[in-house]
Point group: C2
Chain length 656, copies 2
């Protein structure tokens, strides 16, 4: 038996295009004598469609495409991911009971659909509870940006509704292979990630049921987003399965999609990582194509003899590929035939330098205009850096001093200032924000609108988290390419772009700090340049490690930080050096506590800015937007926090 795994590039919402891609891969699989071709989860429609799933005329159209795939299965078995609206359940069961979705609508599955020779494939043991050839996803993820329970009815729910054990419903399908019939177990994405789902005292391992019911091999069709070390995560899940069913594990065929998708507030990328595991759960065959489509052909009889060495690209290299694929996705997201063109505010600082360089790498130099918008507070050195970068990239470079627009704002507020009171610091802050808004709204957004371009948000994850940006100023834009990177990662990416992509100093070394984030005399430290001698209030490196921890799966918070200070484990837990702690003076208990309160306070108080911020390309395991969901909440004072804070302050210094 030859199995083709179609690591397909999916365009969300583009049914016809996706169907064409499938047809081409089916032709290729047939040419390579495949008996079965497996496509990823939701390959016809895309997966992260939000409430498009509630539009039943869209779902009806998708059902029509399911039929088209069935008709294309002459001479081959096709397993593909799609939604299936079960509007014939009453006929099959010959009853008139209600069988609603949990939301009262018609029951809809996130399913793997299996067809062969124009027919829906048959289960090893039939059941009228489910349509022929349609196997619903058993485990529905509801974390990060996944909302499966909002839309789909699971195999678990089918089992529960009808009081039939789940194990009975987890049947393999009989695939015709050279005259015989091979039982193949099919499952969808999360069904593999079963460790934390429980049933009858153990993990809800649907793979085990499929094998128990006779499956010779398992095919898992996924749309599982890329994260750094995802190969490793997948391999560990397979190892878990082999340990959970040590006697009976069978070869496991995992196919995953490529091509970004979005949920409004995030662009989520998919890397592929299609892999065949042998019956020991070791990778036997894997796609070499990272973030790119591939057709992997596996000869089932030879799987046991194969082994493959995983190679994992470096962290920043992977994030580079994710961002580039995100930027190239905008065209598909908009349904355009060409990539959109961009205008980027290029200040001469590191963040905008990296964004303009990424855009040029993704879309070419003709697609990018850089705009420098100096005021009296901008140094000649940052302007020279901006010009240098634009020259190196060969992109259009425009300069608009903002002084005249700043002056035009003055009369409005001079008049009001005589009439109404306001503290001096608020007026100063307002004067700074006016400059940022002139740049973001008056100039960039209007250039974008007037010449059919898009403008970018150049903020990094620390700025997004802390709200160190101006709403209607630098918070705007249609996409935030580096808003899920810490400042340390932005520097790493800048170095990577120079060294590995452009192979020249596109981004001047004068922007780079040393390992402790110190800047030489003649270097350019980060500054918003909105007033004289301004420097960022951010403790680079240290705050970078903190925001990584705060947004990690562990959701580190101030209480953990205070405990680590008391235990003397800040270095280990944050993964930073003792020198970095000294460099920022946070070994002093008072500085540490004050900074921690400032840090958490800023994150809480800036939720209102993130609500109005553009979509972020996800490059971590927890990105602001819709991956992290936030209510606006008042400060929550915790008794434990207050007690720990007193202990930290009493200790005076971290090293003591």
């Amino acid at each position: 038996m030859r199995v083709a795994l179609a690591q397909m590039h999916i365009i969300p919402g583009a049914l016809e295009q996706n169907f064409s891609t499938m047809l081409a891969m089916i032709v290729e699989a047939k040419a390579q004598s495949a008996d079965l071709i497996a496509f990823p989860e939701m390959c016809l429609s895309g997966y992260l469609l939000s409430d498009q799933w509630l539009d039943r005329s869209f779902c009806a159209e998708l059902m029509a495409y399911n039929e088209k795939v069935r008709l294309a299965s002459d001479g081959i078995a096709i397993a593909f991911g799609s939604a299936f609206v079960d509007d014939h359940i009453n006929e099959r069961l010959e009853d008139n009971h209600p069988h609603p979705n949990k939301d009262g609508r018609t029951r809809m599955y996130n399913a793997v659909i299996i067809v062969q020779n124009g027919e829906y494939a048959k289960r090893a043991a039939n059941t009228d509870l489910l349509p022929e050839g349609v196997q619903p996803k058993t485990l529905l993820p509801n974390y990060r940006f996944f909302d499966d329970e909002r839309y789909f009815f699971s195999l678990q729910s089918v089992s529960q509704d009808h009081g039939i054990p789940l194990e009975k419903l987890a049947q393999p399908y009989l695939i015709e292979v050279s005259g015989g019939r091979t039982p193949v177990g099919f499952e969808v994405c999360e069904d593999l990630w079963c460790q934390d789902y429980r049933k009858d005292g153990r993990a809800l391992n649907i793979t085990r049921s499929l094998v128990h019911n006779g499956a010779d091999l398992i095919v898992n069709i996924s749309s599982s987003p890329w994260t750094y070390l995802k190969h490793d995560a997948r391999d560990r899940r397979i190892r878990f399965l082999t340990e959970d069913m040590p006697e009976s594990f069978v070869p496991f065929y995992y196919v995953n999609s490529v091509g970004p998708q979005n949920n409004g507030k995030n662009i989520v990328t998919f890397d592929g990582g299609t892999t065949v595991y042998n019956s020991n759960g070791e990778p036997a065959l894997t796609s070499e194509r990272f973030f790119a489509p591939d057709l992997l052909i596996a000869d089932h009889s030879k799987i046991s003899t194969l082994q493959v060495e995983r190679k994992e690209f470096g962290k920043i290299e992977q994030k580079y590929h994710a961002i580039i694929s995100g930027l190239r996705y905008l065209k598909d997201m908009l349904g355009w035939s060409e990539h959109p063109e961009f205008v980027v505010g290029l200040s001469g600082g590191i963040d905008s330098a990296v964004v303009v360089t990424l855009l040029t790498a993704a879309l070419g130099k003709d697609a990018v205009w850089a705009v420098n918008m100096p005021s009296q507070y901008n140094s000649s050195s940052t302007r020279n850096v901006a010009k240098h970068i634009a020259n190196q990239l060969g992109i259009e470079y425009l300069e608009f001093p903002i002084e005249s627009l700043v002056n035009a704002h003055k009369p409005v507020f001079d008049k009001l200032d005589t009439q109404f009171d306001s503290p001096e610091w608020m007026k100063q802050l307002s004067d700074e924000n006016i400059q940022a808004k002139i740049r973001g709204t008056s100039i960039l957004s209007n250039i974008a609108g007037r010449y059919g371009r898009m403008f970018t948000n150049n903020g990094n994850k620390l700025e997004v988290a802390l709200g160190y940006a101006t709403l209607y100023g630098d918070v705007g834009g249609v996409i935030a390419p580096i808003a899920d990177l810490t400042k340390a990662e932005v520097y790493d990416l800048a170095r990577y772009l120079n060294r590995d992509i452009f192979k020249q100093e596109v981004i001047p070394e004068s922007l780079f700090p040393n390992a402790l984030f110190e800047f030489a005399e003649d270097a350019i430290a980060p500054s918003a340049e909105l007033k004289h001698d301004q420097v960022d209030p951010i403790k680079f490196g240290y705050h970078c490690a903190m925001i990584e921890a705060f947004t990690s799966f562990k959701k580190i918070n101030a209480v953990h930080m205070l405990n680590w200070f008391l235990e003397g484990t800040l270095e280990q837990n944050l993964g930073i050096s003792a020198d970095l702690i000294r460099r920022w003076g946070v070994d002093d208990a008072e500085v540490f506590v004050k900074d921690l309160n400032w840090f958490t306070g800023c994150i809480r108080k800036s939720v209102f800015k993130r609500i109005q911020a553009p979509p972020i390309i996800v490059t971590s395991t927890s990105a602001y937007g819709y991956d992290i969901r936030e209510s606006q909440l008042p400060e929550i004072s915790s008794g434990e926090h207050q007690a720990l804070e007193q202990q930290v302050l009493a200790r005076k210094n971290y090293w003591r």
Copy 2:
């Protein structure tokens, strides 16, 4: 037995304040000789907290407050809603198996906690699977703005994990009443709305199990948002229960919260509606306080003799109360001791007129500044209207002509226009958007920032849906009070404000159209006033009905509309008059089809604006923000749609 139902005002995140509120109500309940007091779901913490639920130091603090409530239960039984982190499950079960939440974290319940005389209450039949006195919610909603599966472990999942029938776990608690023990069944919110959840061939009716296990009465603690006709919806659910268990229904005590909560993109309001139903499922006793706290005392022995007539306020009156409560909530959301002060752009059109009037009604005239920002395109009549409204309300009125700021923008684009090509219509649109951005960003947002005020978004639901507003212009603001009202509702609300709230013509009648949305010669039709003779491209009344249908539970779409045209059922299905169809000329097939495509195209293409829009107060059953979740997607052409469109066009006219 006397039961006190605490229709409590909950402030999300404010544990200490909520605990104080509870203590005061407990004192009052004791004074009224109550044996049991029941508080709403998540009354200590608030319910819509988004990923605050993943912060386990917050949850630990909440657990500490659970203990404080237990210690306050001397001489009374208290049932209250809270999260419960089950970190002692291994000790209870004397095992070392993993018992994770579905996300791998420690298991956490959305629970009703029952305490009496300083002790956790005992179940009628004990189980080690669950902590004493803690009854997890059985049904976890995952629609609209609810994400319960993301955070909580349900009673269903407990049953599944341990292979113990759910019915066994649905035990009443023994409440001590004058020496004896009364078995009371407790459940949480969604457990009542069980019609669409299925188990063993019928609705998963946990009330039935509780009664089967001996409960003499049921207490349901809810945090269930207000919608229009919510009383009716609740009564219908109770009727469903009585039909599902006709022999065994028992008196049902329903307590619900008041006080808005938010999920970032929406402000969700809670009306109370606390009700005791007798054993026939009829309302016996109900709170008269709408959107306000109340302590309802019910004598269980007399419930069967009571009956109450429901009174439902009018639709626009209810929406008025929801919006006012939303505006008054901002203080709590921010953790401020005072209400924030506002600055409102007052154009002289109906939308901003209604917003400024609502704000004044909610917060008083001293809290509101109105700002009129005329350009050459603004008529003197709209300026006079703005001035009139401000005078009537007695609020500060400021005028800032925007001409000088418009002129300051010219040099930037004059220069670029010589350098780069752009079609004339894009330049024209850009000139219009510049004006909107000057108003929203340059003036309003800067006044807000400089004088510590907030500014509002004045858009209505049609403008939000169609994207008829300028990003960084009128899309901005900290809150959108009327963005879930159709234009027809905005007019209704304006009339209501004049007639019932201010009892004078605060909003001039000259802004009001007739029943067909026609404007008299001397009246002021809606216009953005961004160019000469501009009128809104919106078919008022008709598009209002369409957006209501498109965002209803039924999710009407273009295919339905085309079918209704062919069937001749547009009036019935949209709830509009034949005259309104004639008035907009959509009885002509070509006009109808063109308008429909424009309407759906606008909704799709403006998702990017909503991503960056401020929070909306929810007043319908489906609001943009986070209630409706949207991905940016390309146009999806459906074969069915195209075929129907051809049929409609062939028919030429609707009446034929």
